[in-house]
Symmetry: C2
């Protein structure tokens, strides 16, 4: 018996769409429903095979679900989680946002009094972050195997019921992912280094390449800047949501860059060799 | 009739080996001979199909060649070019080094008086740099199509005879490459931005990632750091040979990084969005 069988995905983009495709391909759910902003997106989501049905109506979309996956841009996650937890108090709600600390903190605070929302109970929301993606977005790039062999970080908080956490972890494992548990703050520090910083650096490198020389780029430049093609809107949200950890990560990078530049400036070959070897050792430890 | 028909490749690694494979696969040469440091490497080069014959003897290796391609690490290029130009004054000599200005400058200076070398005449040496490679090295990773559709920069100097430059450009085009002419200094400034800086940044990023968090890396980190797996020995040579242009390129990167970090720190979303969009525009202009 799968962990959850009636699943609503709010926001059927690359990640939401890939989760839907994988659930349906693996026969894990009685139904997968997509909640979309525009009716036309619902048709694309259905045509891609990402969902059984799609609706632009959030109230209808979450009815009867035992799991609601919020796969919107990070700026909209808190409001959306509050709404769906209010509309369907029986479901477990998770998200797939690239940041976790701010989202979890805001969800522990009382919701604004003038909105038909409330703070979800600790058994209602547990955060997730699938470490998988692409510099392209949209359901048309969704892939049923996007999560296979990838890691999903689940971020329980002190009050999270262990049974809900375990059931959510099982859900991700059923999709082929490995699961690690981290608290939200630790998640954000780690991901600032392993994901947010690479995005910032790729953008800085692309921006620092004079346009007249772009024709002299080759595979090294293309690999190193690939994720600079990601959505500026989504990433400006992620960087600012994880502001202090991102700034710390930039500082670590600047130290590493200064050390390399100084060794080049002084033509200190042994030092330069040592720094490059240490970097290669870390890169080789990860593999392709 | 191909541009050259009797070709000696000094240093049969990834690039030298790929040139040999392509020449033989395309039937462009009467013979391709490899000069290797160790007899065992010659056997590998022959087994890979990169050369018809191989020798560890430079004097024998260059006899009868009409083109000599020096494909050694950049630190050895100047001495090797002087030697082969002395041993076979009839051949055109080129190299495949990632830096050009220092090599060309040293080759215009008188050679040390105590060595059986001399300054090659302007018609004897014209530099080249194929913008193709891999983070792996060695003839076992050589590929006949490595240069196909890639750019080769040829770096004539004021005294270079146009006929020699044109014949060398034809040679590279016969291997499927596009050819651009740049003077050696301009080459080094452009490549500092498009190749050397990405390598330095990839290494800095790998080095700046705390080891305990390496398990939280995903495709973004892997792409952005891929070339940090390149040979530290080869790259420490390239960085120091192109020292001042590399330092200028690092400075441009640091400005771009500071601008992004400041926008994050101030939570200036419009500015951040603008910077990320500008970076994406340059990345998108290059394609995959």
């Amino acid at each position: 018996m799968p962990a959850f069988t009636r699943i609503t995905i709010v926001g059927v983009g690359l990640i939401g769409g890939s989760i839907g495709l994988a659930l349906r391909r693996r026969g894990l759910a009685r139904w997968v429903r997509g909640v979309v902003r525009r009716t036309a997106s619902g048709e694309v989501a259905r045509a891609c095979g990402a969902v059984d049905e799609a609706t632009a109506n959030l109230v209808e979309g979450v009815q009867g679900a035992d799991l609601i996956v919020v796969a919107t841009p990070v700026d909209q996650i808190v409001d959306t989680v509050r709404s769906v937890a209010y509309l369907n108090p029986q479901a477990l709600v998770t998200d797939v946002g690239s940041t976790k600390a701010l989202i979890c903190r805001l969800l522990r605070e009382p919701a604004p009094a003038d909105l038909p929302q409330r703070r979800p109970g600790p058994g209602q929301f547990v955060g997730s972050h699938p470490l998988a993606g692409d510099h392209r977005s949209g359901p048309e790039h969704a892939r049923a195997d996007l999560l296979e062999g990838r890691m999903v970080v689940v971020t329980p908080e002190e009050a999270s019921p262990p049974a809900a956490v375990e059931r959510l972890a099982l859900f991700w494992r059923e999709l082929g992912a490995e699961v690690e548990l981290l608290d939200p703050e630790e998640h954000d520090r780690a991901l600032a280094a392993t994901s947010h910083l690479p995005h910032l650096v790729a953008s800085a490198l692309a921006a620092a390449t004079p346009e007249t020389w772009l024709r002299f780029t080759a595979r090294g430049w293309s690999d190193t800047t690939r994720i600079a093609a990601s959505s500026p809107e989504l990433w400006s949200q992620i960087f600012t949501q994880n502001r202090s950890a991102v700034i710390d990560a930039v500082q670590r990078l600047q130290h590493a860059l200064d050390a390399l530049r100084d060794a080049v400036a002084r033509e200190d070959r042994p030092k330069l060799l040592h720094l490059l070897e240490e970097a290669k050792r870390r890169r080789d430890a990860v593999g392709d």
